[in-house]
């Protein structure tokens, strides 16, 4: 598993990056070229990060999301407790951390799918506290889900059309009068077909979304999110359950989002992907942001390695074996006790 060895092979990451980006470029369908000026400002966005200190809660030159003191508890468990976090505009930010670090909960809080116990956060200058999830999406902060959520019994094209916002025909009083929404529907369909072509799903247009494979569903979900015309795309484990061939094309798609001027925040366990495409990495552990920085430096960070491998990961191996031995015999004793309980 890549998560197991990432702190050791960060030195070789340069070679890996070259490979992946080359593959990503070939598999990536042509996208409309963004304007040169936009390109330059994007470049500025990324170079601006070079001046940002590598510490948790560091201020960014042009943040799109600003989080202050968000806390969410489930009974006695504090799932998320983030003091301060800023997400830079126009770059790809990765959110990593061991299982149970609170990444998905944090995602849910930011997007309005869950409400925190305390704290405030803003998106593009607009405060989001108490805003319903659908309003957050309309503001341009669109998420995908860890387990893909396609609308199974709707066709692929219908799934795509659903993403468009501000549809006149979605109002009950206008729905029965097609003259009011037909032209808009045509535009939406054109846009949907263009995106489907880009994501190589155009041949599947008339199929039920429920008949797609796992990887195709991931693609559809991402394409559908783009129909909303987001400013910030939030991807929750985009690579989970995707085969290696499709991974390359997904990587290309994520990068193309940035190239079109969108900001991306993604949760991921696949360290190759994190290293390959992210401009900035935020590390969470036990609900807190413990480190931030560019991918190359973050993976050698002592706190990050500790969070993933445990603080005693470099203790003498014989000592660890003794600890495991003790736990093992303890387990056995427990099992025996279980078995002796009369049914």
């Amino acid at each position: 598993m890549p998560t197991d060895n990432f702190p050791n092979d960060h030195l070789s990451s340069g070679a890996a990056r070259k490979d992946v980006s080359a593959a990503g470029d070939t598999s990536q369908p042509r996208v409309p070229d963004p304007g040169a000026g936009e390109n330059k400002s994007m470049h500025e966005c990324r170079t601006a990060l070079q001046l940002v200190p590598h510490e948790a809660g560091a201020a960014k030159p042009d943040p799109i999301v600003v989080v202050n003191g968000i806390r969410r508890t489930f009974g006695g468990l504090t799932a998320v407790d983030v003091e301060h976090l800023e997400i830079q505009r126009g770059v790809i930010t990765a959110l990593i951390g061991p299982n149970g670090a609170g990444k998905t909960t944090f995602f849910n809080l930011l997007t309005g799918f869950d409400q925190p116990d305390a704290g405030s956060w803003s998106f593009d200058g607009a405060p989001l506290k108490g805003k319903a999830a659908y309003k957050v999406a309309r503001l341009g902060m669109v998420r995908t889900f860890q387990l893909t959520r396609v609308l199974s019994k709707l066709t692929v094209l219908e799934n795509m059309r659903m993403g468009a916002t501000g549809q006149r025909g979605e109002r009950l009083w206008a729905a029965a009068l097609p003259a009011l929404w037909r032209a808009q529907e045509r535009d939406i369909t054109d846009r949907a077909r263009d995106l489907l072509k880009r994501f190589k799903l155009d041949a599947k247009e008339a199929d039920f979304a429920g008949s797609l494979s796992g990887g195709q569903r991931k693609l559809l979900e991402m394409a559908r999110a783009l129909m909303v015309e987001p400013k910030l795309v939030m991807l929750d484990e985009p690579m989970a359950g995707v085969n290696p061939a499709l991974k390359q094309s997904l990587l290309g798609h994520v990068k193309s989002l940035r190239d079109q001027g969108m900001s991306v925040l993604f949760v991921e366990h696949d360290m190759d992907m994190v290293r390959e495409i992210s401009d900035w990495v935020v590390v969470m552990a036990q609900g807190k942001v413990i480190a931030e920085g560019p991918p190359t430096s973050i993976m050698s960070d002592e706190r990050v390695i500790d969070a993933y491998l445990g603080a005693r990961h470099d203790t003498d191996i014989s000592e660890l074996e003794r600890v495991i031995q003790v736990e093992h015999t303890h387990d056995h004793a427990e099992q025996r006790a279980d078995r002796e309980v009369p049914r």
């Binding site: 999830a133 659908y134 659903m162 979605e170 009950l172 097609p178 008949s211």
Partner: protein, 326 residues
């Protein structure tokens, strides 16, 4: 044996006012359950509010028929809001529980309380004059499927309403609004992530389905010339749901064909079995009383076979059912 008589009876019942009333109830359920995925186990409540409010307003206060109908629709909208606002933010089960309870509460209230308006077990009568005065039919009873003049008028108006409401449903469900409803049925969270106000749409669907059911209550009330609380028991909603599944959920014609077939088959089996019971050979196994019970057993059997060999209903799409399998 009088097969022709049994067939005529089947057509009479299959297209009668009661079938229309159930048909509209099932169309309402189709909007709520078939398209939006809302589980409403209390559709009977919407029909009872329609019948009772309209009937009592005319019979007690002499309100003109049109106004009474508008008043009943307003009450139905209010009922949908009362049931929907607290429950539609929660999981689907809560709406099911609340609607089933509301239907029973309303049935008991209508049947036992406010006797000056609802007349207890006798029910409300004496409200049809206004509706019947509009009847343009000449006075010759029984020329068509043995319907009386009044019955034929109710049935004609009823089927006119079914056609209009079906056309409206068709237009709505092919629009982006209908697409959002189907999307909500599939996955609410996905719809929220795409910026759709799921709660608002669910309330709209509940109201619309409830109002269509309320219209079914009007047809039932005018057809029977009375409104009685015990008509609106729990079986009512479940029979309407059965009709919907029989015809095919999320299809415009599903509830219509389902309701007609259900009543026609029930009526046909009833008259055939009753006639059979009059033969001494058969009477050894089944007397006339048992015939009506056996009729329901046979209908149950037909429904079971349908669900096994055609789970999508008569008009449904088999591929959609296949998607549920994995």
């Amino acid at each position: 044996m009088d097969i022709i008589g049994a067939l005529t009876g089947a057509l009479h019942d299959g297209f009668g006012y009661l079938a229309v009333s159930f048909c509209l109830a099932a169309i309402g359920l189709n909007i709520q359950f078939g398209y939006a995925g809302l589980v409403n186990f209390g559709q009977a409540a919407f029909l009872s509010v329609g019948g009772y409010v309209m009937g009592a307003a005319i019979a007690t206060s002499g309100v003109p028929t049109v106004l009474a109908i508008l008043l009943a629709i307003a009450f139905t909208v209010a009922l949908a809001l009362i049931l929907g606002i607290p429950t539609l933010r929660l999981r689907a089960d809560y709406l099911a529980i609340v609607t089933i309870a509301a239907a029973e509460i309303l049935r008991l209230v209508f049947g036992t309380s406010f006797r000056t308006y609802f007349h207890g077990k006798d029910g409300v009568t004496g409200f049809t004059a206004g509706f019947r005065s509009l009847n343009p039919l000449p006075n010759y009873d029984g020329f068509f499927l043995t319907y009386s003049r009044e019955e034929l008028w109710t049935v004609m108006v009823g089927w006119g309403l079914v056609i209009m409401i079906s056309l409206l449903t068709w237009a709505l469900m092919r629009s982006p609004w209908g697409r959002v409803l189907r999307g909500i049925r599939e996955d609410e969270d996905a719809m929220r992530s795409l910026g759709k106000n799921v709660y608002g749409y669910k309330i709209q669907a509940l109201i619309l389905g409830g109002v269509v059911g309320c219209v079914g209550g009007f047809v039932g009330a005018f057809g029977a010339a009375s409104v009685q609380a015990d008509t609106f028991n729990l079986d009512f909603t479940f029979i309407a749901l059965t009709m919907l599944i029989l015809g095919g959920a999320a299809r415009v014609l599903g509830p219509v064909v389902g309701a007609v077939m259900f009543w026609a088959i029930l009526s046909f089996l009833g008259s055939v079995l009753t006639q059979l019971a009059s033969y001494p050979v058969v009477a050894q196994f089944m007397n006339a009383d048992q015939a009506s019970t056996i009729r329901l057993m046979l209908v149950g059997l037909v429904l079971m076979l349908l669900m096994i060999y055609r789970p999508q209903g008569i008009f449904g799409d088999r591929r959609e059912i296949a998607l549920d399998a994995h």
